[in-house]
Symmetry: C2
Subunit: 191 residues, 2 copies
DNA sequence: CCTCAATTCTGTACGGCGTACAATAACTGT
DNA sequence: ACAGTTATTGTACGCCGTACAGAATTGAGG
């Protein structure tokens, strides 16, 4: 393996870290190739050594965020499936909400890296534990994801009045949704 | 009222029409002030006579789209509330889906014009008919809106495999959700 | 009719964006 | 010492939103 060539001053990691910092400071619009480069003290196009284009950076950023949730906490089968889904949904929401603008990034460029898939599979497995068949579990997982991303998108776009009314609404909707899923399990697959 | 000044070659309406055409042709990224101006044969900054900035144009565009749904069709009290909510949700989804990119516009700049409010109030009234109290109806309306916008956003970002699997998933999720709402009505407000 | 104020649109310009292309600099194995 | 390899830079292009000043065109009042 050749180790020739100029010494690296950059890496995927520091680029994503800079992008994350910009996201935290100035929202989605602040995540810019030139901004990232400036923050790490490098020429703008140096970024293109590590990512083919900006969309790839953004996808990597979304992956980076998703990597922060510890899904092992939600796979404990001794806990009721409802509690596990609720906990996972709340955690994901919190993570997204902690970085305003990340939702638009994820909605604009849906990530599909290992972390993304891991989260999806955790959710899928939990719903299977609930008694849903594979097809229903897939639909249910989609439904929960839609609720999480949709809620956060709504919330950052138009922050509701009170301080925690966003959380309240999220929980309320999630509970109705889980009620519907539970009823579906009890009834069995549509006849 | 003074009617002096150069004759108008522009209007809010033709600007929004041009924006809509661009949205249909090239997605959200194609909606650009310069593109609109070029399409109507005018200098880019002429647009700023009618809108203070691009965000206002985009908000107007979202309003324009929402104005296309005829909510009177969904207020017929002889129909079951579930059917009415379903029909409204499907109609809104279809309208958004017909203009790829409109979701990101609405998610980025939430509109709040008369049409937007009208839709929201129709939905609210229908949910009140279902037997939900004012607070619950508001939460439920929020929930349904989240499901519609979230679903469409997901769908345009990552088109599912089959041709109508998007519609199927949307309906499936909506039905679980309505099940949950119906159960909440039967149970009564949380004790 | 003629002037003038009002209004719309144009000309021009600035700074910022993503990114393509060629040149350079810094390293390593021979 | 040299050649090969690679990360980074320099420069440039075409796009974007939009600010500012001025030209064009009109209706109203004398």
């Amino acid at each position: 393996m050749d180790k020739r060539g100029r010494r690296r001053t950059l890496s995927e990691h520091v680029i994503l870290d800079a992008a994350l910092a910009l996201l935290a400071e100035g929202g989605a619009d602040a995540v810019t190739v030139r901004g990232i480069a400036a923050r790490v003290g490098v020429a703008p196009n140096a970024v293109y050594t590590y990512f083919p284009d900006k969309a790839a950076v953004v996808r990597g950023l979304a992956e980076h965020l998703l990597g922060r949730v510890n899904h092992d906490r939600f796979t404990d089968p001794s806990q009721p499936w409802r509690d596990r889904v609720r906990a996972l949904a709340l955690e994901l929401r919190a993570e997204l909400l902690a970085h305003p603008g990340s939702v638009h990034l994820m909605l604009g460029h849906p990530p599909d890296g290992p972390h993304t898939r891991a989260v999806r599979e955790t959710l899928l497995a939990t719903l299977a534990d609930a008694g849903l068949g594979p097809a229903d579990a897939a639909d249910a997982s989609y439904l929960v994801n839609v609720h999480i991303l949709g809620s956060v998108a709504f919330e950052v776009a138009a922050p509701p009045g009170g301080p925690d009314v966003g959380t309240t609404r999220f929980r309320w909707g999630l509970d109705r949704l889980l009620d519907g899923l539970a009823a579906h399990v009890a009834t069995g697959p549509p006849r």
